[in-house]
């Protein structure tokens, strides 16, 4: 062993050290009372799958939220503070989620995390955010994981829980397709299993003839669809993401299998699904294969141009986010951003992290906005929207009907109607109770 190698080695290790220090920058962050907020700005961070297999559709959400913040900022923001959103790509890989969220909190000193997307991803940072007392606002996932405000005080859900949706869809099937055989085609994770639990809660076990999970990433779903057809399912419940709704429909088309579709709001956006099926409908919009599907929604249908909220969001989209199609994902991002802005408004001008949490705990349940249903927010329940309204795909657009319904995600809790009307959007800014 020669000294040359020894020297090379020492130099190498020193080089590694230099490289490490080069990353150090200015060193650790200061622990201020309210990081990420100044008199004129407030900064949130988010982790999103901007690239990779999970990106389709979801990658539109955060830029749409950003567009809404741009709209608010043009009017002066909230209490004179402009809202900035730092969007980081985690490619739906939990390792990267942990890394970027740590970077956002420790290095970028964001005030809080907003709209973190995905259950397998976000569940890996909930512990860190709660122990570091960083607000974790309005997670973009319908998992029941965010419901418990007692053990996870910093974390809030936003969209309706998958089980709530499953229950309401299940009740509709029980009332309108009584006696028919039901099959369920669902994603093999808590989105699908949560929805299935809701369906099973409402429907008698004898009417569910087949439940077929699919693996995201395995694009051949023919074995599952043929099983559903073989079992004779006349009503097919899809707890699927848009790509798999489309894949399921393609196989059904090949088989000449035409059950009544009941699709989760996650996987029904007609623009997205129609786009995937476009070339099979001889150049038409592409929604032929999902025409008549029963679905649900907690926000007004994105094609309902007469709705004042949709008109507002469309205006903002055309000005600040025009490169994206105006679909359900964009509406989601803007509605969620509206809710964050409301929470900031409620928290008051003298903003601290704890005040934001308290604001949602105390007054969150009274908030209303583009949502058709109320929130469940309280100190113990951080679940988010309490229900959905039934809908159907008619002429390629989702039309909601029957009035909003709310329930709890627990087994056999009742489903009740919610009769308060949706308020009109404010002329500017946000409105809070």
């Amino acid at each position: 062993m020669t000294t040359d190698r020894h020297k090379a080695r020492a130099m190498g290790i020193a080089g590694a050290l230099v490289a490490a220090l080069a990353v150090a920058g200015c060193g650790s962050s200061s622990s201020s009372n309210a990081p990420g907020v100044t008199a004129t700005s407030i900064t949130f961070g988010t982790h999103q799958p901007l690239t990779g297999p999970a990106a389709p559709g979801y990658s539109e959400i955060a830029p749409a939220s950003q567009a809404f913040f741009d709209y608010l900022n043009a009017q002066g923001g909230i209490y004179g503070r402009k809202i900035h959103l730092v969007i980081k790509n985690d490619e739906y890989n939990p390792t990267q989620t942990v890394s970027v969220v740590h970077e956002l909190v420790l290095k970028d000193n964001v005030f809080g995390i907003f709209e973190g997307l995905g259950t397998p991803t976000h569940t890996k940072v909930v512990g860190f955010l709660n122990s570091s007392k960083v607000p974790d606002m309005f997670v973009a996932s319908g998992c029941a994981c965010w419901d418990d405000g007692t053990t996870q005080p910093e974390t809030f859900g936003w969209q309706p829980n998958y089980t709530i949706e499953g229950k309401i869809l299940g009740q509709y099937i029980k009332q309108h397709f009584a006696g028919k055989k039901v099959g369920v085609f669902y994603q093999d994770d808590d989105f699908g299993t949560g929805g299935l639990a809701g369906i099973k809660d409402e429907l008698p076990a004898s009417s569910i003839v087949s439940t077929q999970p699919y693996q995201p990433g395995v694009t051949n779903v023919a074995p599952q669809i043929t099983a559903l057809k073989a079992a004779g399912a006349e009503v097919l419940v899809d707890f699927t993401v848009p790509i798999y709704t489309a894949l399921g429909q393609l196989t059904s088309f090949t088989l000449g299998y035409k059950p009544q579709l009941v699709v989760s709001n996650v996987g029904i956006d007609p623009i997205t699904v129609g786009g995937l099926l476009k070339t099979f409908s001889k150049g038409k919009a592409g929604t032929e294969l999902i025409e008549g599907a029963i679905t649900d929604g907690y926000l007004p249908s994105s094609s309902d141009e007469s709705n004042p909220w949709i008109a507002l969001f469309k205006k903002i989209h055309d000005q600040y986010d025009a490169s994206a199609p105006f679909d359900g994902n964009v509406e989601y991002g803007m509605a969620n951003a509206y809710t964050l802005a409301q929470a900031l408004q409620l928290a008051g001008k003298d903003l601290t992290r704890q005040k934001l949490i308290d604001a949602v705990n105390e007054k969150g349940a009274q908030l209303n906005g583009p949502g058709l249903v109320p929130y469940r927010y309280s100190t113990s329940d951080h679940g988010g929207y309490a229900g959905v309204e039934m809908g159907q795909v008619r002429s390629g657009k989702i039309v909601l009907f029957g009035g909003p319904l709310v329930t709890e995600p627990t087994a056999s809790s009742p489903i009740t109607a919610y009769t308060t009307a949706q308020p009109a959007p404010p002329a500017s800014g946000v409105s809070v109770p």
Binding site: T51, P53, P56, V218, T219, N220, G256, L277, K278
Partner: protein, 292 residues
């Protein structure tokens, strides 16, 4: 029984697609002794090009032709610009370059065409054949797919066994120096090999795109299973690629249908290991191990 038939048909049609990708990999291996991990990304690019052409001109067969032509071109360019510089070097470096190309192409596709997958028309109808009132899980488009794959495999087999060009290509791959001495334009053979392989890959992309949609990451699983099929059948054999593809397609279909979709990738692993333990060079390997 109906279910078994459906799953078998499904296995054949998906297996044909894996075989198409496997053929492209076999082509490159025989011609240049490199495993092209970027094959899936290259065929993704040519399929995107086809999609754009079809979108703007409305003609499927024009898009089809453009995809094949751009495949030839892309393969030739990649070989000439990138692979030429690492041929003869450590084989692992070629793997890394191919991986780098894969990442670059997928990112470039995302930048140019966006991350949202788009629909791609099938060449023929996808309505299953009507047999006594029920529709089979096999449509005219699937017949087209299977026929095309067989034709390409036969073409490749003929090329390598019966033509002078094929002999030159094999010589250039296995003994480049000797081949040069005998007057074979080794560099040109390599370029041709990559061009033909990319042609086969483009074909695979066109055949599978209707059922996986066209997006930067949509072809990843096809490449993985295609590579598995190629290894299963033996990287030196086009016939092996077909058999490997069909066997894999059938096994995965049965496992997904009778067990669960979550076992599909594990089943691929088990099948591959089982075959390789018996025949370490794949099903159709010709060289025997020299045991001392």
């Amino acid at each position: 029984m109906v279910r078994f038939i459906d799953l078998t048909l499904n296995g054949i049609s998906t297996g044909a697609v894996y075989a198409a990708v496997a053929l492209a990999l076999v082509m490159i291996w025989r011609a240049t002794r490199i495993v092209n991990f970027a094959q899936g990304a290259m065929l993704m690019i040519t399929t995107f090009i086809a999609s754009s052409v079809i979108g703007s001109t409305g003609s499927y067969w024009l898009g089809f032709a453009v995809a094949l032509a751009s495949g030839l071109l892309l393969g030739a360019i990649v070989e000439r610009v990138l692979i030429r510089r690492i041929e003869g070097g450590p084989p692992l470096n070629a793997v890394i370059v191919a991986l780098g190309l894969l990442i670059l192409l997928e990112a470039a596709a995302g930048m140019i065409w966006g991350n949202t997958p788009r629909s791609f028309p099938p060449a023929f109808s996808i309505r299953g054949y009507d047999v006594g009132g029920t529709h089979l899980l096999f449509a005219p488009n699937d017949t087209f797919t299977v026929l095309v794959v067989f034709a390409v495999a036969a073409g490749l087999g003929l090329l390598f066994r019966r033509t002078r060009l094929g002999l030159q290509m094999r010589a250039a791959a296995l003994a480049p120096e000797v081949a040069r001495l005998l007057g074979v334009r080794v560099g040109r053979m390599f370029t041709l090999g990559w061009a033909f392989a990319a042609f086969a890959g483009s074909l695979a992309g066109l055949l599978v795109a209707p059922s996986v949609f066209v997006g930067p990451n949509q072809f990843d699983s096809i490449l993985i299973f295609g590579f598995t099929a190629a290894v299963l059948g033996g990287l030196d054999s086009p016939a092996g690629a077909i058999v490997g593809g069909v066997v894999l397609g059938l096994v995965l279909s049965y496992v997904s249908g009778y067990e669960s979709a979550s076992l599909v990738t594990l089943a691929a692993l088990v099948v591959l290991i089982a075959v390789l333990m018996i025949r370490p060079g794949g099903l159709f390997s010709t060289t025997r191990e020299r045991r001392v």
